[in-house]
């Protein structure tokens, strides 16, 4: 029996990346003329930056066996408040901060409500904020989108670096760098710091974490704050990219984010998952949409295929994992 424990462990943790590669090959074969153009690849990166940030935040929540349904609304509220601030002519560094700060505020409400009110499951608390925060986003804008942001505010969402080798509009998007910084920071936090490990412990056995002296409520609040912050940052990128804040941004974003996290191998029951997996999950969702669009698949068929491919991608991953482990 050929069996390599190191390889098996690697496959177990990061094999989902293989699924990404397979998808890329399939799409490239279907439209070789389009898929591999620098412009299209740049598009994929730009279009999925917001989802990546939101999914990273959602991931931290899911590691604690929680859920944050309010991310889409939080993103929308961040977008419209920063767009309002921009239109009111506040200095751009202040405007830049507003998006993430609004996210943090919503996260605080979620976390504190959850722990202080002792609600049975974050589903309820964040379903509440899903509705309430979206309502507030509509109220502050009276339902109308607000466009015309300061160029500095737009920078992160819109700029790209062609490095002298790509023809515009291709290049390394600034939003990719934001995602990379967040992902690396989150990875370091989760793997190397005490609080990060406590997040995993709470997902594995909250009772065990408690008796080990972990401040479970404190960590939970932090976790929802991180998720809110990421959603706010995602809002900043999206506002920059679209040059506007619209209150119906991010509808159903929570489902996409959760899907990316679970596709990436995290467990809904907490305690398991990796940052790399989440990014792979985001890419799978993004590649899927891109592949269908560049093949001009009609919107009805897109739905059917998205459904089938999601199941299929996860199934391949399951098979791979089972193959990697002898029993």
């Amino acid at each position: 029996m050929l069996y390599n424990p190191k390889l098996s462990k690697f496959l177990e943790s990061y094999g989902i990346v293989l699924v990404v590669i397979v998808m890329m090959v399939v799409i490239a074969l279907s439209r070789p003329d389009v898929f591999l153009t620098p412009q299209n690849l740049t598009n994929i990166l730009k279009q999925n930056a917001t989802l990546a940030l939101v999914a990273l935040g959602m991931f931290v929540v899911i590691v604690t066996a929680g859920i944050d349904l309010s991310v889409g609304s939080t993103l929308a509220l961040s977008m419209v408040t920063l767009a309002l601030a921009s239109r009111m002519g506040l200095p751009w560094p202040v405007v830049l901060l507003i998006g993430p700060l609004v996210g943090i505020a919503v996260g605080l409400v979620n976390g504190i409500g959850l722990t202080w009110l002792k609600l049975p499951h974050p589903f309820i608390m964040t379903l509440g904020t899903l509705n309430a925060v979206r309502g507030i986003a509509y109220l502050v804008t009276e339902g109308a989108p607000i466009s015309g942001l300061q160029p500095e505010v737009r920078y992160l969402g819109q700029a790209y670096y062609d490095l002298g080798i790509f023809a515009p509009p291709a290049g390394i998007p600034a939003s990719l760098i934001v995602v990379a910084v967040c992902a690396i920071g989150l990875w370091f936090f989760l793997e190397k710091t005490s609080t990060g490990r406590h997040i995993y412990a709470i997902g594995g056995n909250p009772q065990a974490a408690r008796v080990s002296g972990v401040n479970v409520n404190g960590v939970l609040i932090l976790v929802y704050v991180i998720s809110g912050f990421m959603a706010g940052l995602g809002g900043l990128l999206l506002a920059g990219r679209t040059d506007s804040g619209f209150p119906n941004a991010g509808l159903m974003l929570e489902l996409d984010a959760i899907a990316a996290v679970i596709i990436g191998g995290a467990s809904f029951f907490g305690g398991r998952g990796t940052v790399v997996g989440v990014l792979a999950g985001v890419l799978i969702m993004g590649l899927l949409r891109n592949g269908l669009n560049i093949n001009n698949v009609s919107s009805f068929w897109q739905m059917v295929l998205i459904g089938v491919v999601i199941i299929f991608a996860v199934w391949i991953d399951v098979i791979r994992r089972r193959a990697a482990v002898r029993t």
Binding site: R197, G204, N205, A208, V211, V214, G271
Partner: protein, 261 residues
């Protein structure tokens, strides 16, 4: 142990209700510095519940705890731990998704402190865990194994290692030898003696008279949720203690026939 100096930890008039169920009522006891106290009692007598109150996991419905002569309330195990009280739980209370060494050092990770955050030195934690487990003569394949993949005895050993990895004033052990093989039982009992020598108080719950009579200074018995009997070890005998567990005082020879020749 009494006289002028107050006992290390004292419990007065403790009661605990779970809805309709009365698990404890009017329980009183104390443990002194460096004393090894054995707690015995029938299944469901309330031993574990009492210990969970001492370790801050449960709040008592009535009664109070006195530490070093000062009344205390532990709102969480974190506070009890800060007061120097560690516990080995009967169900081990381990995070199954995490490796052995992280379970042992959880909440007190070695590494660089940055305010509330510690940047963990995983290498050091692994080494510390390995040497600590070796000290206890506990045999695991690797400290990187997740605890959910361990055998029952290995899990119990990890729980014991966690409670004894740091300097405590009082270590509470809820049936610490139940799942252990013979050699490991000996090591744990020796460990308790060593802790005592270092001035650490130990409360040990056990159904095995061997354990109680090997290392305790004093033994108390709970019966149906309340104090039943108490005695220095020297002043009692196996059969008497077995009688207490069954709720009888005095002549017990007849009751103890089947297990002790």
């Amino acid at each position: 142990m009494n006289g002028t100096a107050p006992p290390l930890l004292e419990a007065r008039g403790i009661a605990k209700y779970f809805g309709a169920i009365t698990a404890l009522h009017d329980v009183n006891f104390h443990v002194g510095r460096g004393e090894v106290l054995g707690v015995v009692g029938d299944n469901g007598a309330g031993k574990s519940t009492l210990m969970k109150i001492l370790s801050g996991l449960y709040q008592p419905s009535e009664g109070e705890l006195v530490l070093d002569g000062r009344p205390v309330r532990f709102a969480s195990p974190k506070e009890a731990r800060r007061a120097g009280i560690e516990m080995v739980y009967q169900d081990f209370a381990l995070a199954g998704n995490m490796p052995i060494y992280e379970n042992i050092y959880m909440g007190r990770e070695p590494g660089i402190k940055l305010g509330p955050l510690t940047i963990i030195d995983h290498k050091k934690a692994r080494e510390m865990a390995r040497s600590h487990l070796d000290n206890l003569h506990i045999n695991v394949k690797s400290v990187d194994q997740n605890t959910e993949d361990l055998s029952g005895g290995q899990r119990q050993a990890v729980a014991i290692a966690r409670a004894t990895a740091f300097h405590a004033q009082l270590v509470i052990m809820d049936e610490p030898t139940a799942a252990l093989a013979i050699k490991e039982v000996g090591k744990v009992l020796d460990l308790i003696r060593r802790l005592k020598d270092h001035g650490v108080a130990v409360i040990i719950i056990s159904h095995r008279m061997d354990d109680i009579f090997y290392c305790c200074d004093r033994v108390i018995a709970l019966y149906q949720g309340t104090n039943f009997a108490e005695s220095p070890l020297a002043a009692t005998s196996r059969n008497e203690v077995i009688g207490w567990i069954m709720g009888t005082k005095g002549h017990t020879e007849s009751l103890a026939h089947d297990r002790l020749q």
